[in-house]
């Protein structure tokens, strides 16, 4: 924020003279950066081990982690609005258990798919009300919710396996229009959400709230209602992510998946959401989720000791964010 004027003067805008590139760079710089990183990973690991680029492996990279991307869409909207949810991992664990239990209890599978979305929306609407009308900061409300959901799940289920799932239930294993369902869901939801965010009045209002609350208020945006709304939408995406998560294997373990919330928040953040508040796109968060999956797979293919995995991810977060800060300064001075 200080003393960056030299940079601004010294660095010409990239692609000067080409309005389209300049537009793309200015609007989607973070997304392009991540896309480049993914492509470079693919090419270099592919050269090292061609099987990395086999159809099966690409399928596991994309389909196996689609649920993280889907959950990160809702998280991105939340962060764009200036909120956060640290309970989403626990919520997905609870919803998966509910969904699996319904499926094995003989309820129709559509109900087992629908209920996680409905219950996710209901639970997060309550959180949204606590945040908007109870004036509890979202990190606190969701920290409390994390304890409640996690403790509750352990008390009720004791971590039992749900194993007699009907074959119809396993949605994530299906292929539709020649594409595995999780990939299709990830793409459709990402496109849908980004169009909604960019072009609808409601979607734009989220940026306004996150960017400048007083201005949003002055512009007549009903902030409290919008916050409840965005939490509810986030709940719906958590529910959708749960469907992909719970129908991937023939068994469901009724526990809270370890560190899932951190992965989801990190994907949203690396995707360019919120670095200075009020900005970001869900395309970025989806790309970031894919980047993580690519790194995870590449580490195995290249025999890099998994001991350093977390250090690498940490460095990646920092460098991406710092790069983004520098880019913004250069573009906007």
């Amino acid at each position: 924020m200080t003393a960056t004027t030299d940079d601004t003067q010294a660095a010409p805008l990239p692609g000067k003279g080409n309005a389209f590139i300049r537009y793309a760079y200015r609007s989607y710089g973070q997304e392009l950066t991540i896309l480049c990183a993914i492509l470079i990973m693919f090419v270099s690991v592919g050269l090292y081990s061609p099987r990395f680029l086999s159809f099966d492996n690409l399928n596991s990279i994309f389909a196996g982690n689609a649920y993280i991307a889907v959950a990160a869409i809702g998280m991105s909207m939340l962060i764009i609005t200036g909120q956060i949810d640290v309970s989403v991992g626990a919520l997905i664990g609870v919803l998966a258990t509910i969904s699996g239990t319904l499926a094995v209890s003989g309820y129709p599978v559509w109900l087992a798919w629908l209920m996680p979305v409905v219950i996710g929306m209901a639970i997060n609407a309550v959180v949204g009300i606590l945040v908007a009308y109870g004036r509890i900061p979202s990190i606190i409300a969701t920290l409390g919710m994390l304890s409640v959901l996690k403790g509750g799940l352990v008390s009720v289920t004791g971590g039992a396996w749900i194993s007699n799932l009907p074959p119809d239930f396993l949605l994530a294993q299906r292929v539709m229009l020649g594409v595995p369902f999780p990939i299709l869901a990830m793409i459709v939801l990402t496109v849908f959400a980004s169009v909604w965010l960019k072009y609808s009045a409601l979607g734009r209002s989220l940026y306004a709230i996150g960017g400048n609350r007083e201005a949003a208020l002055a512009a007549g945006i009903r902030i409290q209602r919008r916050i409840v709304m965005v939490f509810t939408i986030h709940g719906a995406f958590a529910g959708l992510a749960t469907i992909l998560f719970a129908t991937q294997l023939q068994v469901i373990q009724s526990t809270v998946p370890p560190n899932l919330e951190l992965t989801i928040i990190t994907a949203a953040v690396i995707g360019g959401v919120s670095v200075l508040g009020g900005t970001g796109t869900v395309i970025g968060s989806t790309l970031a989720a894919i980047l993580f999956a690519t790194i995870g797979s590449a580490l195995i293919f290249t025999n890099v000791s998994a001991y350093w995995l977390r250090a690498v991810i940490g460095l990646l977060i920092l460098i991406t964010v710092l790069a983004d800060m520098m880019r913004r300064r250069k573009v906007w001075g």
């Binding site: 396996w161 007699n164 998946p257 995870g296």
Partner: protein, 368 residues
């Protein structure tokens, strides 16, 4: 351009690690191993004097109702739900034990220590535990012993002088032999295999892997150990890791060993979804409920585990016998209800028995 270059540079520097990467790491700990003989001949057990601790000034509890608490590594996973079921079963059968299970919600040394401390304060007569860390838990267990509480471990041991007895579900080298022998039967003497474990810091898993590595080198030297990957206790991550292994090694990979009850079913699902049933074998530690679909489809022939319900059951009987003074330093065996006489080994450990092999036929008779 610096900004675009940075993440790229990072990705590249990640890859340069490849050129001097050491051979794939196995995931074993660095303690000495003791592989069993390749045939079925029993290991000669060197008898060792009692090396456990003693409850200081414990009151005479013979025949009195014991107030006991069971503190597993964590609650909320099927395995420890099964052990606590066994403990409750034994308590009901004896009629003289009042026991409840309470543990941390994640496998965390600090939370477990705090719980043991609280129960020591609350004045229980006996503590059953499965340690998250053998050393870290020792001081607090010694405090419980000093308060006259009978302390018995099961599943995961702590340093011997911090508890009276430890119920050993199956010796590490026995489990290792069982896993490797089963694997070699399924993939042949020259097959290549990879391992999916929880984390490198989990002591039991690291110990098993070390013993497996030693036993494989001794008895099946032509089998090829490809690598070990980490997958927490997370079934989707385990699934993704197993699939990546399948994609990476292609037809070279003949077997996957799951080191946790979460990794084994996930690996089984990975080979099912990759259409590799029959060409890649999965063996590993697992609970029968989680494996039922894969036994049913014929994708997995067998999984190995002691019966955790029996393990809990035996632990409760050992605690009772310790409190009664029937099991004392120098004892050679202990009576454990329906399990009969259990042998004392390694000075202060009670052996539950040989590991149990689950398969399609017998899995349906268990529910845990």
């Amino acid at each position: 351009m610096l900004i675009k270059v940075l993440p790229t540079f990072l990705s590249l520097s990640l890859l340069t690690g490849v050129s001097y990467a050491a051979p794939a790491w196995t995931g074993a700990d660095d303690q000495p191993t003791n592989p069993l003989a390749c045939d079925a001949s029993p290991a000669d057990v060197a008898s060792k004097p009692y090396d456990g601790g003693a409850a200081v000034d414990a009151p005479n509890r013979k025949g009195k109702t014991l107030k006991a608490v069971d503190i597993p590594k964590l609650v909320g996973i099927g395995y420890f739900t099964a052990t606590s079921k066994g403990i409750a079963e034994a308590a009901k059968e004896m009629g003289t034990m009042d026991v409840k299970t309470d543990g941390p919600t994640k496998a965390n040394i600090d939370d477990q220590i705090t719980l043991i401390d609280n129960y020591t304060t609350s004045g229980v007569d006996g503590i059953l535990y499965a340690a998250n860390d053998p050393v870290a838990i020792a001081p607090i267990l010694k405090k419980a012993l000093a308060a006259g509480i009978n302390v018995v471990g099961y599943d995961a041991n702590s340093s011997p002088d911090s508890r009276q007895w430890f119920v050993n579900q199956a010796e590490f080298n026995g489990v290792a032999k069982s896993l490797i022998d089963t694997l070699s039967k399924e993939i042949g003497e020259d097959g290549a295999f990879a391992i999916v474990t929880s984390t490198f810091t989990t002591p039991n898993q690291a110990r098993w892997i070390a013993e497996m590595s030693a036993y494989q080198a001794k008895c099946h030297p032509k089998m090829k150990w490809l690598e070990t990957v980490e997958a927490q206790e997370d079934n989707i991550l385990s699934f993704n890791q197993a699939k990546t292994l399948i994609n990476k090694y292609g037809p070279d990979l003949k077997g996957i060993v799951g080191m946790t009850s979460v990794a084994t079913p996930a690996a089984a699902d990975a080979i099912t979804q990759s259409g590799k049933c029959g060409s890649i074998s999965v063996v590993g530690l697992a609970t029968p409920n989680a494996m039922k679909p894969y036994f049913a489809s014929g994708c997995v022939k067998s999984a190995i585990l002691w019966n955790p319900v029996d393990l809990g059951y035996a632990a409760a009987y050992v605690l009772r016998a310790t409190a009664d003074g029937d099991l004392k330093p120098g004892s050679k065996s202990v009576k454990a209800g329906k399990l009969g006489e259990l042998k004392v080994i390694n000075g202060s450990e009670i052996l539950l028995g040989a590991p149990f092999v689950f398969n399609k036929e017998n899995a349906s008779s268990f529910d845990f």
